[in-house]
Every structure is written in C-alpha cells, then in structure tokens.
Symmetry: C2
Subunit: 274 residues, 2 copies
C-alpha cells in the first residue's frame, strides 16, 4: 500500500473511530437492552451492533472494494486475506461497557493481503486514541510511544492474565505452567478488554499479555500497535497469528517472549478441548 | 465526633490530599530511586516517604493530639485505637506508580475510638477524589454515589481478585474454593491498588474485592467508603476488621457477602502459613 493511500485511509478511519466514540459517550447512560450470546457471560448490546453497522456503512460507501471482518455480523464472510480488510471490534470489553461504563475500546486493524498497515484502539470514555501505521511507530494521541524497554527480566515484569487460565479444567493451557509463571512474575493485571491490554503493552505499562481465546477483531488492531514499538505478537506457542481464526495470543517485549512461550506455556491438544 | 469538627477535619484532609497529589503529578516523570522492602516485589519510592512525611508534618502541626498510622514509619506506634487516628497510605499501588505512572492512590481513613468517621481515596493521575463522612454517604468528586445494587447474583458479579490466591501453595486461603468462586463469577479484575479496588466497589463498577494480606493503611479509607454506600467490609471469614493488624478482607455488596465467605472462602490455619 503506498504511503499516500495509507495516510488517506488512516485519516478516514481515525475520524470515524472518534465519531463513533463520541456517540457512545453521549449515550453511555441511556437505558439499553443487553443480549447474551453463546453463554450468559458473553454479552452484546445494541451499541455493539449499532457501532459495527456505522463502520460497515462508512466502509462500503467510501471504499466499496474493501472488506469488513467484524464481530456482530455486518461484515463479509472471508475465506482468505486477499485485498484490503478492515477488522473491527465495535466495543471491545462489552462486560466493562455494561458493568463499568468505562474501560472499553473500539479496535480497528486494517490489513492489505494479510499485512497489518493501520492499527487503531480508542479508549472511548478516556478519549485516548492509540494508533500506528506500519513502519512509522505507534502513538498515544499525539505522543509517539518509545520503543519497549527490552531489558527488564521476567521476575520484574507485569503480565495481563485472566484468572480463568489458572483453572486446571480450562481447556486451552496446562495450568501448572501458568501457576509457575504467576510465581515468577512481579505481578499480574486483568482489565477486561483485550484491545486495551494490547494498548497498555504497546505503551509499556504492561510487559506482556497472555490469553487463550481471542477472535481476530480482538487482536487485529492491537497486534499492529505492539509490533510498531518493537514487541512481539504471536500465538502462545510462537506460531504466527491467523487473522481468520480464533487464537491464543502472547504479546510482549521480545526479551521475555521466548521465555514465557518455551518455559511456561503448554497448550492442550485441540482434541481435548471442550 | 461532632459534625462541625468532623467537617473541619474533612476539609483539611481533603485539601492536603489534593495538595500531595498535585505534587506527585508534577513530579511523576522525575527520575527516582526505588528501594525494595521485604521482598524484591515490595517496592517503595522516595515519593511514598516524602508524601507520608508531608501528612505527618501537617497532622502534627494542626492536630497535635491526633495520631498517625502510616506505612513508611513517620507515624506513631499504636497499641490501641483510642483517640483520633489518621491511617494513611501515601501511595497505594506503588508497583503501578513505578511501572505505569498511573492507577495509584493516596488513601486516608480517620477513625475516632475505632469508629470510621472520614474516608478519602484520591486517584492521583485521574484527579478523582472518592470521599465519605460517616452517615452522610460517599462521593466521587462532587457526585453522590448511589447505594449499591443489592440484587445482582454472584454469577453476574465481577470481583477484584489477585491471581496469587489461586495458587495451591499460597499460605492464606484454600485454592479450591477460590477456583470454584472464579468459575461461578461473571469475571474477575486485578488493578493493583487496594485503595482503588475499594473505591471501585463503592462506585459499583466492581461487585466485590477479596484479598488476603492488607495492612490497615490499605483498607482504612476504603472500608469507610464501601460502608457508606451500603456494602459490607469484613475479614474474609466475616470477622470484624482490626485496624492494628494485617488482615484478610472481603468487601462487597451485602447480598453476595455471606455467599462468598460461607461457600468459597476457607482460610488456612495461621500456624500453616509461611
């Protein structure tokens, strides 16, 4: 993608994400209906759907040749990564949106033939925009984020980690390794929004993020951000991410990435999973 | 304590906490030396010490008959709760202060003969002051916080919980119960500041907070806040808090408090603890 076109698409995406966020902020206290999806804790609101519809309309009108991969069903059915694909999570951290009315984000990753070109994560209630273009670094609002400190060892690191992965019966990762990891780390944090956890890794206020069940819209924007500050984002077993599948994710500073993946992550065989 | 005196002390404490916070914000990017205390992850900075010294000087000058119980050693050695005691954590969430330069708080609880009269928690970088006077409710800045929703069941609740308490070898709580609790809850969060976790319970964006090893300055202010919005704060086994000792803490909406304590919390005998 040439720079001029990328800059044009970036400006467009940034203006849309701010517009969508402003609407959410103005309506944050409105009564809302909340549906549950596959299980009672998988929440979705009218606002998720409305926001994805907003992006679907904007993209189809302005860039009819682009594709949209989204959570709420207003996008395209994609079988490969050819062309320009917007991967959008209209509200990442829906549980926070419902319970906290803050700590959620809009996430956009724009990929061309599978290459991440533009990443945007908008912390809506804080009005903070994290953004990156490939090869140009990452920004928090107008401030360029420094490259990640590559020196701090694992025992002085803070990792975003959900308590779920410490349960022996979780179907994705052997809990013993996660327990050893928790004992080795300085501390863990859980914020309830994958997009924000990527943004915090990019910002350097978390040293890494390990999780088991992200959809492409949960990691597409964040992976570009973390990559642009010199971090690594892969599946938890170090395989490359696949933008068309649900995935484990390990995003971290490079100096602890191999150590976490090699010494603490033992994924369960897919056939064992519930 | 009569209302006029309480209001006077409240106004004084609020002005000092804002002044101390402003100094921290102005110096947040200054180079700092970081010491470790009992273990490598127990951090303390010059700013913790300076801030406690600030409160010690102010209190001793203005209220020479009051006592100070603090983390950093500028306070009094107390053997009982007689009199007026300021219980101060100058920086609650020192690890966040060091690693994140946000998500930490100054916490003050003012007790008269063991009764909590004034609670203040100041989210320094956000410039958000949570405050309460006994019998007058709690506030977030100038907005009165509503009484906690007492209806939401445990399986729709979000609890602040550190991953540490899920480790079988933790010396404080049987991990099996914690695992069952995690499976029952809607979700968990970990923010890394006890004071802020209390404030979030008071605000209703968390339904509860369960932890094992808080010092009085970690919970003194927060307990008053949560109490003033109708929540319960006890030791994890439902015994009353002791302001002179390290303690387990369960702070939550009343409708889930007994359920968590009775069905999921099994404390290890003190003699078993490392």
């Amino acid at each position: 993608m040439d720079n001029q076109l990328r800059n044009e698409i970036y400006d467009q995406a940034a203006s849309w994400i701010l517009e969508a966020g402003e609407y959410i902020r103005e309506n944050i206290d409105a009564p809302r209906s909340i549906e549950t999806k596959s299980n009672p804790n998988d929440l979705v609101t009218e606002m998720d759907q409305r926001t994805e519809q907003f992006f679907a309309d904007k993209i189809k009108t302005t860039y009819p040749e682009h594709y949209l991969l989204g959570e709420e069903g207003f996008g395209d059915e994609l079988e490969n990564l050819d062309g320009t694909i917007w991967i959008v999570d209209p509200i990442d951290g829906t549980m926070n949106f419902v319970h906290q009315k803050r700590n959620f984000a809009i996430s956009i990753g724009i990929y061309v033939d599978g290459i991440g070109e533009i990443g945007l994560i908008y912390n809506v209630m804080e009005d903070t925009l994290y953004s990156a273009k490939r090869g140009e670094g990452a920004y928090k609002n107008d401030v360029k984020l420094p490259s990640l400190n590559q020196q701090r060892p694992l025992n002085q690191s803070i990792l975003a980690l959900n308590t779920t992965w410490m349960l022996p019966e979780n179907p994705h990762i052997e809990h013993q390794g996660v327990h050893e990891l928790v004992k080795t780390l300085r501390s863990t944090r859980t914020y309830g929004s994958a997009a924000l956890e990527f943004a915090f890794v990019a910002e350097g206020i978390l040293d890494g993020y390990l999780t088991m069940t992200l959809m492409p819209w949960d990691f597409a924007g964040g992976a570009i951000l973390v990559h642009e500050v010199g971090g690594l984002v892969t599946q938890a077993n170090k395989e490359p991410l696949n933008l068309l599948e649900k995935s484990t994710v390990l995003a971290s500073r490079t100096n602890i990435h191999n150590e976490i993946a090699d010494e603490y992550v033992n994924l369960k065989a897919k056939s064992d999973r519930s």
